[in-house]
Assembly symmetry: C2
């Protein structure tokens, strides 16, 4: 049989790209892209190539680039943009943090899907550096490196998940070993609805734990009102929320404001993660951390 390219409904594309139906339709109207085929019923059917392209586009959009420009690029221009972006990433990496051999070892283990090698590298680095420097010098750079490798197309989504899973479990085991009695300040960690990345939260928890501070992790996708209730019921001093670069940039400001309004004023709010790096004006009573070196420990 002929290798027929798979097609997807607008609902599936919405789910797999995180771009809403309405947005997909209006982009088509305004910019002429994406221009899906139609089935017998007149419904849009997106070929896989368009789905993949939309996923790539999203990464640029999440970085703050504007649809009006991005969607009107020719294919050649888009490829040029991709290369330019890859180049800049390589540059910023080599300038700000030359990748240590251990980071490279981890990356290689992920690429080869070798769980044991990855665990060994993590264990070694942890022993060598201690937890604080393990996070600053290995875990955080690794997260960035894996994210970049995915952006470049060097690794697949499932490999990123694999890395995240192994790293999370490693951190949680070490956190468990450090667990002690109640201490102050007490921190509650979670992410808002739609935000699935919690590795940043685990790294924060580990960082806090190695300074003797306890934290409560609630995991991903916590509605604002629940986060607020939990903060009060657990009687915490600080609520920490993380936003990955995949979080819709347009709604971050609102969501943080909503959280600040909902949580009692005497409880601090910390926000962190790639998603808030570019965010300038924060509501009063909200602090931003995009680097583990900034944490006031």
């Amino acid at each position: 049989m002929p290798a027929q390219e798979e097609t997807f409904s607008i609902g599936t594309v919405e789910r797999d790209t995180g771009i809403s139906r309405d947005t997909l339709r209006i982009w088509e109207r305004r910019y002429g892209y994406p221009q899906p085929l139609r089935n017998a019923k007149g419904e849009r059917i997106y070929p896989e190539s368009q789905l993949r392209h939309l996923q790539k586009l999203r990464r640029f959009l999440d970085q703050g680039m504007r649809p009006g420009k991005l969607l009107r690029l020719t294919e050649a221009e888009f490829i040029a943009l991709e290369e330019k972006s890859a180049g800049e990433q390589a540059l910023s990496l080599s300038v700000s943090a030359p990748e240590s051999p251990l980071v490279l070892a981890c990356l290689a283990a992920v690429q080869q899907r070798d769980e044991q090698a990855l665990l060994d590298a993590l264990g070694l680095a942890h022993q060598q550096y201690g937890m604080a420097d393990f996070i600053r010098q290995l875990a955080a750079p690794c997260v960035t490196a894996v994210g970049d490798a995915w952006a470049r197309g060097d690794i697949e989504v499932y490999q990123e998940h694999f890395f995240t899973q192994v790293m999370t479990q490693f951190l949680n085991i070490e956190i468990a070993k450090m667990r002690n009695g109640v201490s102050r300040p007490l921190v509650l960690l979670g992410s808002l609805p739609g935000e699935l990345h919690t590795l940043g939260l685990s790294m924060t928890a580990a960082m806090l734990a190695c300074h003797g501070l306890a934290s409560i992790q609630l995991g991903a996708s916590m509605p604002v009102d629940q986060l607020s209730k939990a903060a009060q019921e657990f009687n915490v001093d600080i609520v920490g929320v993380s936003f990955s670069s995949a979080y819709p940039y347009n709604s971050i400001r609102n969501d943080i404001q909503e959280l600040r309004d909902s949580v009692p004023a005497d409880i601090e709010i910390w926000v962190g993660g790639e998603g808030v790096r570019k965010l300038r004006k924060l509501p009063a009573g909200v602090s931003k951390f995009t680097d583990f070196k900034q944490l006031p420990l």
Copy 2:
């Protein structure tokens, strides 16, 4: 100032209930519920009471009840339904599995938000039962008990997250202790996009581990194509996917079929979780497990 009830846009309601905009609008047209207010712009604004009610409705819908009946109930009828359902749950619980003191202890720890008490109970049960029976007699019943308690309104969402987080970490630590070399069959575990619950996967992994079988956890929200690629690259024999009762029942069948079509035929597919309990006809080459006692170990 007057205690003005908070209102929500249709987008927020979609996000917080998992019911799509289109569905909310057409329910309003067909059944006259929910009937939101309108703002100056003519947009639907849902009072909090309606949002909460929709969340309750969803639970019944997920159990297979039909909108046409459910949405036409009067308030009194709905309350009667809730009580009847609570009664049935209590009955099925007391008949099928009288809650052991340890399960009750865990539930109490969750209600009191006492991490240490919960960990102590888990550790004790694990020592006493061994891993296999720990899962069958404590972990699985606890998950059900916590879910039911949430359904009854006895505990909040954040407490359920808290329980999930603690249980997951406990299991992962024990899995790590049992980790050994490569063994066959090798199992890949994950959930499909939109499915955020992974506790079932961790319990499965633990169950496998205590029988000497290795598994690779990829975590939540893995697109079908990625799951398929991962299965081939990791060279696994079985792919295990879990569906919670929160997974949209209408799309489960399709999604499983899609997965089966995508994964090579010589790799088995296991599906599990509350979401597939009622599912009858499965595609060829797909096995269903809704009980840890069924696992062929």
